[in-house]
């Protein structure tokens, strides 16, 4: 396998939810092509180890428990897990939606998440509906101070924007790519005028073209049960999964001109440019 670039190595990755990592349920998994084992110890803390091909522990890995998830890294991140102050807001519900295994690269997953133009065709009558297929002129900007990519002023008509939506609304979207392989969507909360709901996807790259997507919702919602919210989000992800698994190549092409882009792809273009500048070779071409 090719050498993994340092930008990819030096990120924090989610490997399990805190709730699902118990003393009786360790997680044997892979991260960036390496075998790892995460365990909850008797004192309640979490230990993660990098394993050799024969299963012996080679070294301990750094661990964080943050936002109800267990994070680790194979490299040396500059800082801590990105900040998400909404997690601590009074009244918000953190809904961990589980893991979806998808045979594609993490870059393809983030790119699809940023793409609004597929809503009316893939998430029919939920996140979009014909003929309201237009993507408005949203703004994309790389925030150099925090090294995050943001897409703002994204408006879209959605028949059922969130589980709590009872009618179609014009939804205001913002996308935040908090690190090259972690993205959060902020969207109009149907329940509260002054707040945004969050949906996050945190792909755990098993190898270059296989990911376990951890995903969550962080919402104000006084109507729906956890079960209803989880099923809403899982349904959307399964619709995306078909599209993702049919994209070729599975790696994300970073060379200009590799695919034909239009104005609606501005977020994708900037995302590809950004991760190319970061030197990300993992899961890209």
């Amino acid at each position: 396998m090719k050498q993994i670039d340092s930008s990819t190595l030096n990120q924090w990755y989610v490997i399990q939810s805190c709730a699902d990592l118990t003393q009786t349920r360790p997680r044997y998994t892979r991260l960036l092509g390496s075998n790892i084992l995460a365990e909850r110890l008797d004192d309640g803390s979490v230990s993660a180890g990098l394993l050799s091909t024969t299963g012996e522990q080679v070294r301990q890995l750094p661990v964080r428990e943050c936002y109800d998830y267990v994070w680790t890294t194979l490299g040396e991140p500059d800082g801590d897990v990105f900040s998400m102050p909404e997690f601590y807001e009074e009244g918000r519900r953190m809904i961990v939606c589980g893991i979806a295994s998808v045979q594609t690269s993490p870059g393809r997953i983030i790119e699809n998440f940023l793409d609004m133009s597929h809503f009316p065709f893939v998430h029919i009558d939920v996140l979009g509906a014909e003929p309201e297929t237009e993507v408005n002129n949203y703004k994309v900007n790389l925030r150099k101070d925090v090294n995050e990519l943001w897409a703002t002023e994204c408006g879209f008509y959605q028949p059922k924007a969130m589980a709590s939506a009872t009618e179609g609304i014009e939804v205001d979207y913002q996308y935040r790519v908090a690190n090259p392989f972690a993205a959060i969507l902020y969207k109009t909360c149907p329940d509260r005028d002054d707040a945004m709901d969050l949906v996050g996807i945190l792909p755990q790259p098993l190898d270059e073209t296989n990911c376990d997507i951890h995903y969550f919702m962080l919402v104000f919602d006084d109507v729906n049960t956890d079960q209803e919210l989880i099923q809403f989000q899982q349904g959307i992800l399964m619709q995306d999964r078909i599209i993702l698994e049919n994209q070729r190549p599975r790696e994300l092409p970073l060379e200009r001109g590799a695919e034909i882009t239009i104005r609606a792809d501005a977020a994708s273009i900037q995302y590809r440019r950004w991760i190319k500048d970061l030197g990300i070779g993992f899961g890209t071409l």
Partner: protein, 210 residues
């Protein structure tokens, strides 16, 4: 009021939703956190179905488990035209046979999908092999029906057998099972999607209609 204990990504729940919609029967869906919550293995749910499986349907005091049995019940009670579970004994036998196929052999495709999507610890190669064996039998059967001038798995009109087999065949690619080699199945899937009242579920790609 009918209650359906339901999980959006379950093909077995979906077949019940599909028939309820086709028959235009009102019901209340009770979402069960099958994953990641494993709510179907917890005491409250086990009281409804000791097998710990979805779906479960309740109609007043009646509690039914097993999607195929639920289809039988719904067609018997709510289809006034008596076409979804026809009365003719020979047809009825064939409908029951292919309905059982939908809850039996076809379920290998469901296991492959659970492996690929939710990491279930199944022998996926074996499951895919079994699914292909079942698909081949189904494809041959549909082709024979077509030669005889019939579009459906049993009888002359769509029945619960079609509903029972449809979900996990149409979701097969979620579990890495290609249908390229089954042209008769592809034609039949399209016919099912054109049944008035058809609804889809996440993972089913509807064909383009002009």
């Amino acid at each position: 009021m009918i209650k359906l204990y339901d999980y959006i990504l379950s093909g077995s729940c979906y077949k019940v939703r599909l028939l309820l919609n086709i028959l235009n029967v009102e019901y209340e869906a009770v979402p069960v956190d099958f994953y990641p919550g494993l709510e179907h293995k917890k005491p409250d749910f086990l009281a409804l179905n000791p097998l710990g499986q979805l779906p479960v349907l309740t109609d007043n005091d009646l509690i039914l488990r097993d999607a195929q049995s639920i289809l039988l019940y719904l067609a018997s009670k709510y289809d006034s035209q008596r076409t979804w579970f026809p009365g003719d004994p020979a047809t009825r036998g064939q409908v029951a046979m292919w309905t059982a196929f939908g809850g039996g052999e076809i379920m290998a495709a469901s296991a492959a999908r659970l492996h690929d999507v939710l990491n279930y610890p199944f022998d996926v190669d074996q499951q895919r092999k079994s699914a292909h064996a079942a698909f081949l039998i189904l494809d041959d059967h549909i082709a024979e029906q077509e030669i005889k001038g019939f579009d459906w798995l049993a009888g002359t009109s769509p029945t619960i057998a079609d509903i029972a087999c449809f979900p996990y065949v149409s979701l097969s690619e979620d579990g890495g099972i290609s249908r390229e080699e089954y042209p008769a199945i592809e034609r039949w899937l399209r016919r099912v999607m054109d049944i008035p009242g058809f609804i889809d579920m996440p993972g089913i790609l509807q064909h383009w209609r002009p």
